[in-house]
Symmetry: C2
Subunit: 399 residues, 2 copies
């Protein structure tokens, strides 16, 4: 038995919010309260920015009933950050940690956050400063390596499934062509989830495009024409990150003024430009007047009150386990999930993977789930997805 490391702990949230990232936060807090070796449990406001500026909240003082409301609130309750720490900022963070006797650092976020945690961890190792660093995964993109799936994905998937169930019924009632743009810069997991909106043959979405497949505009138009001539209507979903025959994002080709964030990413969400351009192309080449396009935008990640209960529980667990692993097993790493069964037997167990395995790199939607024609998602994806999204409402129609 090793002696437990004693000192203060910091938790932060980073990157795009999700519907359950606060479950992980509250998981960290409630587990931290169970361990005497953690003195103060500090919340850093706006991730690494809050650490840099020493803007901390004393989380052990937050009343339990408020914490439960926080856990059930979407978005990042401590505030988030898009700052990717450079060497200078990491040194600054490490200084603050030493100054405040921070011995535990929990960072809830995606692969960029794992990367930040990894850098700080290396600094501590180099300096011989004892620090436990744990990354708690979250992303609606579901694109982190090692883990079976990511907390946040199930709830976002649930949102887009319910959205497409309704939108397909809307399109059935007032037939035409409908295009829906779903979040997903490089990975098509969230867009692929909309396949679960289908219950019967000819239910939409009829075409599903993910960034993993090249999509020439001619194919897009041909696909839509085929469905429309067969059914008299067509519901299309496409990831915001879909690419042309050369692998260039359609959004990049379309947007004249490309805005990049500090990670060098192009702005895809928070604009209807891609959806409107796709609709415009169809209008030009088809004689159909009723072509509509919606970009789901931030609702997918931050809608209050649409949550997968499975996702919420797992997100909480990942937060708790990060503390347990750090305290009891004296290790660093990222919390991962392993699937132990499917369908009614679905359950998961958590395990630790090294920070380096999760940092920077991302996962793509496996090719086995994408139809041969590259314009749909195979039925086999349902087996992977269904346990993650909770019980989906049933719908029916009479026409």
């Amino acid at each position: 038995m090793s002696t437990k490391l004693k000192g203060n702990a910091v938790v932060g949230q980073s990157g795009g919010p999700t519907a359950v990232i606060n479950q992980s936060l509250v998981g960290v807090i409630e587990e931290a309260c169970q361990h005497d070796c953690i003195d103060n449990m500090l919340g850093a406001l706006h991730g690494v920015e809050g650490i840099r500026d020493e803007k901390f909240v004393d989380l052990k003082k937050v009343p339990k009933d408020k914490l439960e409301i926080v856990a059930n609130s979407p978005s990042s309750a401590l505030g988030s950050s898009r700052v990717k720490p450079d060497k200078e900022l990491c040194n600054k963070i490490f200084d603050i940690f030493q100054k405040n006797n921070i011995r535990y650092f929990f960072y809830i976020g995606g692969n960029d956050s794992a990367s930040s945690a990894h850098i700080v961890n290396n600094l501590a190792n180099e300096a011989g400063y004892e620090l436990r660093v744990f990354h708690v995964p979250k992303t609606i993109d579901n694109d982190l390596l090692v883990t079976d799936h990511c907390p946040g994905y199930g709830s976002a998937a649930r949102f887009v499934i319910q959205a497409l169930m309704g939108d397909d019924l809307d399109n059935r009632a007032l037939p035409g062509i409908k295009i829906d743009i779903i979040m997903g810069r490089h990975a098509g997991f969230l867009t692929a989830a909309t396949m679960m909106a289908r219950s019967n043959e000819d239910d939409g979405p009829h075409l599903i495009y993910v960034p993993e497949t090249k999509l020439p505009m001619e194919q897009f138009i041909r696909d839509v024409k085929n469905v429309y001539s067969r059914l008299g209507r067509c519901v299309v979903v496409a990831s915001e990150g879909i690419v042309d025959e050369n692998g260039t994002p359609w959004a990049k080709r379309i947007q004249e003024n490309v805005e990049a964030d500090s990670h060098g990413n192009i702005q895809l969400s928070g604009s209807g430009a891609l959806a409107d351009a796709l609709a415009g192309n169809l209008k030009e080449s088809m004689g159909v007047s009723r072509i509509r396009a919606d970009t789901f935008g931030y609702l997918q990640r931050s809608f209050a009150g649409v949550v997968s209960d499975v996702d919420a529980r797992e997100a909480r667990l990942c937060g708790q386990m990060a503390v347990r692993f750090a305290v009891k097993e004296n290790i660093d790493g990222s919390v991962s999930m392993r699937r132990l069964g499917d369908g009614a037997d679905y359950k998961i167990e958590t395990f630790v993977t090294e920070l380096d395995n999760v940092a920077v790199k991302t996962k793509s939607l496996p090719a086995e789930y994408i139809s041969d024609a590259g314009n749909n998602i195979n039925e086999s994806y349902r087996k992977y997805l269904a346990p993650l999204v909770g019980k989906i409402p049933q719908v029916a129609y009479l026409c």
Copy 2:
């Protein structure tokens, strides 16, 4: 006591779908099953188009458990129609009614649908053909005359409230300027509903613009600058129908290619053009890079699984009462609701108003609810709105 009119009944759905229009449909069906004077209860597919083409479903044959799923499904289960019947089509409809011994006609829709029902009713009166015609109100716009509020509004309001609760938390976590475009061509009721997303001072939405108030671009930019300089962030909601200082819709000024539907309406939804143009104007005149815009689009009216239970019950009741009024009281008209109490004492009763009172005309958001500066909704609106939307989830934050 007059003798009950005996024959067949037709029900149809018209105009834009809502989350509870099928509750009204099932209300009509289940009540029709209680009255022997109604032989066949026929569902017209796609409103007046289904009557014209004699495309009917025998609704008494639909199993009860399926009907209950239909009631809980968004969008128009029988299919909808945007066709505004001209004299020729109304004559055709009347011919079909005579041919099929249709003695009861229930039409679920907005003011255009009331208008269609009114014309058919007049034709029957002129010909001395006994026909009971009832309009069942539905619209997310809440803009029908006479009734206190419209079935469909409460659920759409609930959707945009939950959306803004989440979106404001998202903006709090990653501060910047966010613009959300809400449905509402002429009436600001749905946009005004977002005021209920606020719980604490400085919660968003910080600015709310409705079509009832003229909005010069200079004011829009000045308003956003003021909020942003005070809070470091700003969440704006605007109706798709907001107008400039001359009363010209901003969407019309912005869209180069204006598409009009058969009622002469400009296409506002199903495009991100207005949102993107507003964001573009702000980017030009402010030094803020993080400006995002979402257009909520069809999700507002057709999302599966976000429903106000109050709205669902009232929609069902309005369908039932249409049949009861038609059968028992031998009258024509539109079902309206009268509010009998507020807060914990909230309840409504239904009554009949003449078709002519609801046809064509619409209601605007009363000026008393709009702030003097024309850029917000007064707290007094909460009293009107709160009973209609059901129990809203609580959210909290720590930053």
